[in-house]
């Protein structure tokens, strides 16, 4: 048996390990880590390209050297790998920060976009879009298609989150227990209506829906990045600005109000921002679970719950982790592909359980 000190298991590690861990999980450390993962992901793939070749293409693109680049190699790097890596980072960051913000909103470490009905609402509306697309399929192409599905995902998640929020707010106070239960109920309802739509969908649509619920970053292209990047950027900026208010919210709503936080406005912004981010991510790449739960948790255990650090750290770690997971998804069983949603759940769930075991009884303190 290893004896653990009062400060907890992770802090009780040998001094050098602790310093290393803190350096690694500091904001610059995480940023560097994410960059390294992104770079490594650019060199990884089912298509065998020599590292020297990739460096040459990159250098030529930046304009350092004049080189004749085969169009296939150029396309592979700049239109298949790069947009996919960027999309993974955007989605990972958006889901992680949304998870962290919802956890602050609910003052509950178990809050996850999947748990409070945000994801299921987005799923319902996007499935409606897929099934309904047959009636106006010509109008839906390219950017319009992305924007429509994104808008539908956002509408769905906003509607379900708003409904859950209204159901659990009376007399100016949001009751967190009611909110979680209402989230579960709305999630079940949205799931049932989704089931109804899949029942009426054609064979091909059903296939699309099934694979889409597994989540995938395959087929990622610049258009998807172009739609998501400004949106995720804006949402992150809004949520980062709310970090001090989130810190105060953890003390309790009344306490936060006494400390000068406009709690209702803060809660409203958190709900709209997370609905927007999650809805858009779900619409573009399906259901990717556990990132929003595991990433903020891990960081909270390592460096505490100060949202001014937690939110940016979540964005960096979430982006890096999803890019890493996706690199695995697209190379592990090449030339085929693993569904990324299945992969994150496979890695995320046991990891989360291990964290729970390690920190048994300490979660309440950290939140």
């Amino acid at each position: 048996m290893v004896k653990t000190s009062e400060t907890g298991t992770l802090e009780a590690q040998p001094r050098r390990g602790r310093i290393l861990l803190h350096a690694l999980f500091s904001i610059p450390g995480l940023a560097l880590g994410m960059l390294l993962i992104a770079m490594a992901a650019l060199f990884l793939g089912a298509y065998d390209l020599e590292a020297a070749e990739i460096w040459r293409v990159l250098a030529a693109q930046v304009g350092f050297v004049e080189a004749e680049i085969p169009s296939a190699v150029h396309y592979l790097i700049f239109h298949i790998r790069l947009p996919r890596i960027l999309l993974a980072i955007l989605v990972g960051a958006a889901l992680s920060v949304s998870g962290a913000s919802l956890q602050a909103l609910f003052r509950n470490p178990l809050a996850d976009p999947g748990l409070v009905g945000v994801t299921s609402g987005a799923m319902l509306f996007t499935v409606m879009g897929i099934v309904g697309a047959q009636y106006f399929v010509d109008a839906l192409s390219g950017y319009v298609n992305y924007l429509t599905l994104t808008l539908l995902g956002f509408t769905g998640s906003l509607l379900s989150t708003w409904l859950v929020y209204r159901l659990s707010t009376f007399g100016g106070t949001t009751y967190v227990a009611t909110m979680l239960l209402a989230g579960v109920a709305i999630g079940a309802l949205a799931g049932a209506v989704t089931g109804l739509f899949t029942y009426f969908s054609s064979e091909e649509q059903l296939r699309d829906i099934t694979f889409w619920t597994l989540g995938s970053l395959g087929g990622a292209e610049w258009r998807a990045v172009a739609v998501l990047a400004p949106l995720v950027g804006a949402v992150l900026w809004m949520l980062f600005r709310l970090a001090p208010a989130m810190n105060l919210l953890l003390l309790g709503e009344q306490e936060a109000a006494y400390a000068g936080v406009d709690t209702e406005k803060t809660k409203r912004i958190i709900i709209i921002c997370t609905a927007l981010a999650v809805g858009a991510c779900v619409a573009v790449c399906g259901m990717i679970g556990f990132i929003g739960l595991v990433v903020p948790h891990l960081l909270r255990l390592l460096q505490g719950a100060d949202h001014r650090r937690l939110l940016p750290a979540s964005a960096l770690l979430g982006g890096g982790l999803l890019a890493l997971a996706d690199s695995f998804a697209r190379t592990a069983i090449a030339p085929a592909e693993l569904p990324i949603g299945v992969l994150t759940a496979l890695i995320g769930a046991p990891f989360f359980l291990a964290l729970l075991l390690k920190a048994r009884g300490r979660l309440a303190v950290h939140l």
């Binding site: 694979f211 395959g218 069983i333 030339p335 085929a336 592909e337």
Partner: protein, 295 residues
């Protein structure tokens, strides 16, 4: 999975050996009598390619390609809606053949932009389809007419035999097609389904006319359908626990099929793939239907 991983490793190694400096893909729009490396994204397409003698040129197939047995050695690309763009490019194909329903597939669009030639063929769903499919593929690959003729003749021969059989039969048995994925997941084929097409050309009659497409099997619907024969995929049949599980389904005992234990099982791609063997499958189904009627 280990086999798959080992295979991937071998493939990766061989690609490493062969791919150094080789340009990927050919220019779009060029007619492809020169196609040397073909990716096939449906079972019927794979089968047609083998029948036309292009089996050696196939470098990758989707998950539905299971016939002929030689195709098992080919890299499997998974399901057509979960394709890996880079994985396919890594196979260095110069032609990808897929069903027309996949024209909007984002991964295939990426591959087209990367310079790989795409050929979309209509989804085969009738007895005439195999010939149309083979013609489209033979045309693209610049095959001489006699190669195609061999396939067309064998299909026509089977079809004539089939027509001769059907002409002599005036009592059309009511056939219920059940698509099973385990005991709790039974769907029956209504109107407008490939199963209905196959049952009809084989001299039977679809027992279900109440709805279009597939719906879950219900006890009342089963009794109302009054099937003389139950038709299933072998794989679906295996997902139940033997014939007893099928016959003890609620309502089954009240139908002629359940009463007489009349169940026909056939390989899924053979029966409903509408590949080159479609006419042969219809002929076999027709024979087995008659055999049941004569008991």
């Amino acid at each position: 999975m280990p086999i798959l991983l080992r295979y991937t490793f071998v493939l990766a190694c061989s690609l490493l050996l062969f791919s150094c400096g080789a340009p990927a893909g050919s220019e779009a729009g060029v007619p492809d009598s020169t196609s040397k490396r073909i990716v096939s994204l449906s079972g019927a397409i794979t089968e047609t390619l083998y029948t036309l003698g292009h089996g050696e040129k196939i470098v990758g197939v989707d998950v539905t390609s299971s016939y002929p047995a030689e195709s098992a050695r080919l890299p499997k690309l998974g399901h057509v809606s979960q394709l890996n763009a880079e994985g396919i490019l890594g196979l260095q194909p110069d032609l990808i053949i897929a069903e027309a329903a996949e024209e909007d597939n984002p991964v295939l669009q990426q591959l087209a932009q990367a310079g790989v030639v795409l050929l979309f063929v209509p989804k085969p769903n009738s007895l005439d389809a195999p010939v149309a499919l083979a013609t489209a593929i033979a045309e693209k690959l610049g095959d001489p007419q006699h190669k195609l003729d061999a396939l067309v003749h064998s299909v026509q021969e089977q079809q004539e035999k089939l027509e001769a059989r059907i002409a002599g039969v005036d009592d059309r048995p009511r056939v219920l097609f059940i698509y099973a994925r385990g005991k709790g997941n039974l769907m029956v084929a209504g109107t407008g389904t490939p199963a209905e097409t196959m049952i009809t050309v084989a001299g039977g009659e679809n027992a279900v006319t109440a709805f279009e497409g597939f719906q879950a099997l219900s006890a009342e619907g089963l009794i109302e359908a009054r099937p003389d024969v139950i038709l299933m995929f072998e794989s679906g049949f295996r997902s139940l626990d033997g014939v007893e599980a099928l016959l003890t389904l609620p309502g089954m005992d009240q139908t002629p099929a359940g009463h007489n234990r009349s169940v026909i099982t056939m390989d899924g791609h053979y029966l409903l793939g509408f590949g080159p063997r479609a006419a042969a499958a219809a002929l076999e189904l027709s024979r087995r239907l008659t055999a049941i009627q004569n008991i």
